[in-house]
């Protein structure tokens, strides 16, 4: 450990809780950290103490940047869980550093000219620690945001079976859709031409409609249009005497459901892109 920083480090370690309490009072009423106002004081003090104790560990560590992670990641995770905005989490760190310095000044740690020299070095050391921690906290916050978005849209992503055109996943999609459409044609023909009934089979058409919209977004509407044309044409060919209005409503619903899901999926894709 460098001699110049030793004085400050000793002070911080012996008075960690006092400085943390001072910081807690500050951060819990500061106008740039409003989200802290509602946090339990014990939790805030604990965070402050952990930060101040990190100082010696970092000074002793062979790789201070890696050592800082032991604090930064936990700090970011805790605050993210408490829904503290990033800029406030960063500002709270700044206040930690400021309070540390204020405490040292208040205790008259650096009075003589020689001590002022030590003060400059100590300041540099404090700033470096803060630089590391703030960088790690911001990075962790971003990881947590991305992770949260990923989890929320995870199920949809599985259904999306993403992959570039020509890859195996895309071939499966086209293959599955072709099978669905073939089954739809057979069911329509069987019900309309053989059984002469409109039946409930059209509810099954929502499976390819929803999947097409999830896979291809707005372009998936083509499947809805195809199935709408299929039931209307089949009705006109095989159920001439029967009222067509129910099938017209069904066809309209296919297009509406396909469109709505297609639009939603475009939105989800944008959110995903944004967080990537």
């Amino acid at each position: 450990m460098q001699a110049y920083a030793a004085k400050l480090i000793d002070l911080i370690e012996s008075k960690a809780e006092n400085i943390a309490k001072q910081w807690a009072d500050d951060v819990m009423k500061h106008n740039r950290t409003p989200s802290y106002h509602r946090l339990p004081k014990e939790m805030v003090v604990e965070q402050g103490t952990a930060f101040y104790k990190l100082f010696r560990r970092m000074a002793l560590a062979a790789n201070p940047y890696e050592e800082a992670k032991s604090f930064s990641w936990k700090y970011a995770e805790e605050l993210y869980r408490k829904k503290i905005p990033l800029q406030e989490a960063i500002y709270a760190l700044m206040l930690m550093r400021r309070n540390l310095w204020l405490y040292a000044e208040f205790q008259g740690t650096f009075v003589t000219v020689l001590e002022k020299t030590q003060a400059v070095e100590s300041l540099n050391r404090t700033i470096l620690l803060f630089d590391y921690v703030s960088h790690q906290v911001v990075e962790k916050y971003q990881d947590l945001i991305i992770g949260s978005v990923e989890r929320r849209i995870g199920a949809i992503k599985t259904l999306m079976m993403k992959g570039p055109i020509g890859t195996k996943k895309n071939i499966y999609k086209f293959g599955m859709m072709a099978i669905f459409l073939l089954i739809a044609c057979i069911l329509t023909y069987h019900n309309h031409a053989t059984l002469k009934s409109e039946g409930l089979f059209t509810h099954l058409f929502y499976i390819p409609i929803i999947l097409a919209s999830i896979w291809w977004g707005k372009r998936g509407i083509i499947i809805s249009i195809f199935l709408s044309i299929l039931i209307l044409t089949s009705h006109l060919l095989f159920l001439r005497g029967m009222n067509i209005s129910a099938d017209v409503i069904r066809a309209g619903m296919f297009i509406m459901i396909g469109s709505v899901i297609g639009w939603l999926m475009e939105g989800i894709k944008k959110v995903e892109e944004m967080y990537q």
Partner: protein, 156 residues
């Protein structure tokens, strides 16, 4: 006191080109600012010059926080549009501050013992300014991320 603390900023202003070039070289190779690696040095230097020029205005302003909002929200918007992640944008700012200080040290600006008093003043004021800037930039990024999310929702 103002004259003492202003020494660092005056030096930075006078040598903005040199410091900006040193910073650009650093940011283009630093592992924590990966997104800057493929940007041209001239483009990056332009950012630093903009920064150092405006930093002086802010430093001597009576309401530095308000001034920081006026100047650095635009800076944040530009970095956001360029697709620079927030942790890299902030680290680039940290490096700007470090290069200011490194240059001053290199020039032995605060070498005499009595000058250490000035150095503490300069450093404290500079750090305070950077605290404001980092807060403003982080908040703007956060707002823009939320705004983009909202626009996406509305488009749906």
């Amino acid at each position: 006191m103002k004259a003492f603390t202003g020494k660092l900023v005056d030096l930075t202003q006078k040598n903005a080109d040199t410091i900006a070039r040193q910073w650009a070289k650093d940011v283009k190779t630093n592992v924590k600012t990966y997104s800057y690696h493929n940007t041209s040095e001239e483009e990056i230097m332009h950012q630093a010059k903009y920064f150092y020029k405006n930093f002086q205005l802010m430093f001597f302003n009576e309401s530095p926080y308000e001034q920081a909002r006026e100047i650095f929200e635009k800076y944040a918007e530009e970095r956001y549009q360029e697709g620079i992640p927030l942790h890299e944008a902030l680290y680039a700012l940290i490096l700007m501050r470090r290069h200011m200080w490194l240059y001053a040290e290199f020039q032995s600006m605060f070498s005499a013992e009595v000058q250490h008093q000035q150095a503490v003043g300069s450093l404290s004021r500079t750090i305070l300014m950077f605290d404001y800037i980092i807060y403003v930039v982080a908040r703007k990024f956060w707002e823009m991320m939320k705004l983009e999310g909202l626009t996406t929702k509305n488009k749906q």
